[in-house]
Symmetry: C2
Subunit: 205 residues, 2 copies
Amino acid sequence: MKPDPYLRLEEPLLIVISGPSGVGKDTILQHLKKRRVPFHFVVTAASRPARPGEVNGTDYHFVSAAEFTRMIEDDELLEYALVYGEYKGVPIDQVRQAFSSGKDVIMRLDVQGAARIRQLAPEAVLVFIVAGSEEELVQRLRARRTEKPDAINTRVATARQELQRIGEFDYCVVNPQGNVDAAVDGILAIINAEHARVHQRQVRL
Amino acid sequence: MKPDPYLRLEEPLLIVISGPSGVGKDTILQHLKKRRVPFHFVVTAASRPARPGEVNGTDYHFVSAAEFTRMIEDDELLEYALVYGEYKGVPIDQVRQAFSSGKDVIMRLDVQGAARIRQLAPEAVLVFIVAGSEEELVQRLRARRTEKPDAINTRVATARQELQRIGEFDYCVVNPQGNVDAAVDGILAIINAEHARVHQRQVRL
């Protein structure tokens, strides 16, 4: 079937928000939700404890390490990763819900998880978030106060390695200190532009 | 040199606004200019007479057919096309000025001109504008009152053919009747997203 540009089939996108630990992925998602845009947010499962202010079932599904291991064994996860000694993963039932919603689906994943999603869903739109500078990244990790100095150093070293993988992503968005709206606007522009992409429309039609 | 995502080199983009006659390219450009965005607009040369409200040197460089023929002979045009018996073309000095401005460059071109620019500048971002429907296109051509009924039929037939070339473009933006802001917002989102594209950043760095 030939593409009919007068037809606007709004086939949903799968958008993956990724980037090193501490660049502000969670804050960006919280602000995206506040904009009341009609997205479906996939809630990731995590074996780490909730940070102050995080809500179970909204920010993450917080589960015990034992429960996470059971989910792995029962094949309930689309993908999972062991990151800094804690499990994070995407429950398959969450993804099913997401796609049946008919809305654009937004997922937050670590860098290794994003690479895995690329294999599972090549049409996914992968967005790599970076801090405004390495100093800002260190400040942000320190401000969490949940990290020990050793953990911060490990995360900065890992962030440097992960930055080398930027070529596996479609877009890079800077989340500058004190201006998360700039990052959120950048992501919304990407989503609008991706809906207007011609290859996208042709695939749909 | 490896890409450094902390570096924001704002290498300018070349954005081509194209699409069939009557979809509202000129109106979109006028509204883009009103938004006071820091773009450099390439002023196309045209041998057709100015329509009511069009300003010479701003909307087009209106020249005689004889002057246009001289420009062709003296190799002063990056590309030109004979469209509906009138010449339109992009003066090379305009493009030089545009790139020395350091700003994103926006050019309006007919569909055949856009295809030619793709060959000259593969990194150009080609945006295809369509009307909300064929009925809207016909209404808009009629509203111009500068077109005879025969000319309108020819333009609609050509528009149908040109729509088949949408696959040569990167993006398709709908310009719905009475809501040119929707089209302008779409184009601005595309420009923002293209600045965030990873391949783009890697080419730059």
